[in-house]
């Protein structure tokens, strides 16, 4: 056999294999489509059936005995669970109980099939009640991250506050994605989660980073003022830069003036990232006592610190005067940072309007000429 014939045969084999592959793909796609359409059709039928049971308590229309095994039935139940209230919701709860839906889903969580387990976890997170608490708690340590997240979500939806400690205690030993989803659940618990999170941060912030940082961010998102004092303590004792930055971020976001004096002490930290965060947080708090700190920060060696300090001065009462002083001052870096902040907050436009109206103050003219010199 010549080389040319060999190449021809090889090409033929490749073409045949390609054709088989494409054919298989088409068949699989068609099968999937049929299955999807069949599921949608069954779901629509279940929705009509469930509607009648939900609207009329004594409805006797039969629901198939094995409906709880059908994902279409579970989907329909979840959809109704999210839109019903009052007696209709009670009717739906009775239907769920009568058909052993939760029992079935709990069983599915032990299935060897990942998809089945995941579907069960998602459904339990949506419709599970108090009877599912133990199962959901156990699955906070599931081997599948998505199932851990769904377990936490379910506990959050049920509002089982003892679960807060369980979720928080896992902050340090889960992946960033799971931690972020756990945090979402804790935010849903609101102020009930404040002290467990605070306790976790206080105990762990000196020997861990990721967990405490996530916990501090969660405290900021919850927005409970009770977290301010503990976060001030964290700020004073933290040895980790990330934890310090997270604490500053949270204190700025909580916006309580009580925190300002402690925050100001961090303004001389040797790490520019911390100094940059301090000035932003002081601006968020609107701390009048921080004017000197912010004005000094305008001359910082770091561009970020100068920029953030100038932006913060724009937000603090009395800060505008300091920005205008800096524009007219000798320090070129401070002057540039102040000018940019004044432009950002609309002072340049206002100065130009005052000039056109013939009522411009000397500092308006200084700002305009400074901007034009930089144009």
């Amino acid at each position: 056999m010549s080389l040319l014939e060999l190449v021809q045969y090889a090409t033929l084999v490749v073409l045949v294999l390609d054709a088989v592959g494409v054919g298989t793909l088409i068949v699989l796609k068609a099968v999937n489509r049929r299955r999807r359409l069949a599921t949608e059709r069954r779901k629509r039928e279940y929705m009509r059936l469930i509607s009648r049971h939900v609207a009329f308590e004594y409805c006797t229309d039969p629901i198939p005995a094995d409906a709880a095994r059908d994902p279409a039935f579970i989907d329909a139940i979840i959809d109704f669970r999210n839109v019903l209230a009052g007696s209709e919701l009670a009717n739906l709860e009775r239907l769920i109980s009568r058909h052993g839906v939760v029992r079935r889903l709990i069983k599915d969580l032990s299935s060897p099939w990942k998809v089945k387990r995941l579907r069960a976890a998602m459904a339990l997170a949506e419709i599970g009640g108090d009877e599912t608490v133990d199962v959901l708690l156990a699955h906070l340590d599931d081997r599948e991250p998505e199932i851990r997240v769904q377990a936490a979500r379910g506990l959050g939806r049920i509002g089982w506050t003892p679960a807060i400690d369980e979720i928080v205690s896992r902050f340090g030993r889960v992946s960033p994605w799971v931690r972020a989803r756990f945090a979402d659940t804790l935010i849903g618990f609101g102020a009930d989660a404040t002290w467990p999170l605070v306790a976790y941060v206080m105990v762990n912030h000196r020997h861990e980073t990721a967990g405490p940082v996530a916990a501090i961010r969660t405290l900021a998102a919850i927005g409970d003022a009770q977290a301010v004092k503990p976060l001030m303590d964290v700020l004073e004792t933290a040895t980790d830069t990330e934890v310090t930055i997270a604490a500053l971020d949270a204190l700025g976001s909580l916006g309580h003036p009580m925190a300002a004096p402690v925050m100001r002490t961090a303004a001389t930290n040797p790490d520019w990232r911390i100094r940059a965060k301090v000035v932003t947080a002081l601006g968020q708090v609107g701390d009048v006592g921080a004017l000197e700190v912010l004005a000094t920060a305008l001359t910082d060696e770091s561009w970020w610190v100068r920029r953030n300090a100038a932006a913060a001065l724009g937000a603090v009462p009395g800060g505008l005067d300091r920005l205008y002083e800096a524009v007219a001052g000798d320090d070129r870096f401070a002057s540039d940072a102040a000018m940019e902040a004044l432009v950002d907050i609309g002072e340049l436009t206002a100065a130009r309007m005052r000039m056109e109206g013939g009522i411009a103050a000397p500092r308006d003219l200084a700002l305009i000429s400074h901007v034009e010199a930089h144009a």
């Binding site: 509607s51 009648r52 329909a76 959809d79 109704f80 839109v83 007696s87 919701l89």
Partner: protein, 117 residues
């Protein structure tokens, strides 16, 4: 037999409402978005329309505006989200006869419908 138009992008809600209304003897038509609801309102007469505020296409209040411009005076009940106080008030200002917050209680909605037909 009174005719009611239901417009909501949630199939769950339209199925539930249609089931309850048909069982109570009403004739029901269903639209799944604002544009379809507007068109159905133009094409045939309804004794009442139940419109979701947040739908694909035209919003519930926009459907009312367009109907009124076209001379369609069908009474409308607006379905709004639970926290949407402004829409609830605005819907009355813009000609809706009533509003109901989601998730709603079926007996209450049915009573409001009976009151309007």
């Amino acid at each position: 037999m009174a005719r009611i138009l239901i417009a909501d992008d949630s199939e769950t809600i339209t199925t539930l409402l249609a089931t309850a209304l048909q069982s109570s003897g009403y004739e029901v038509e269903v639209a799944t978005d604002g544009n379809q609801a507007y068109q159905m309102g133009l094409e045939s007469e309804h004794d009442l329309a139940i419109l979701d505020q947040l739908m694909p296409g035209l919003l519930g209040l926009e459907v009312i505006d367009r109907w009124r411009e076209a001379g369609i005076e069908t009474p409308v009940i607006i379905l709004t989200g639970v926290d949407d106080e402004r829409t609830a008030v605005e819907s009355l200002d813009r000609g809706a006869v009533d509003f109901v917050r989601k998730p709603f209680r079926l007996p209450e909605l049915m009573a409001r419908i009976r009151q309007r037909i």
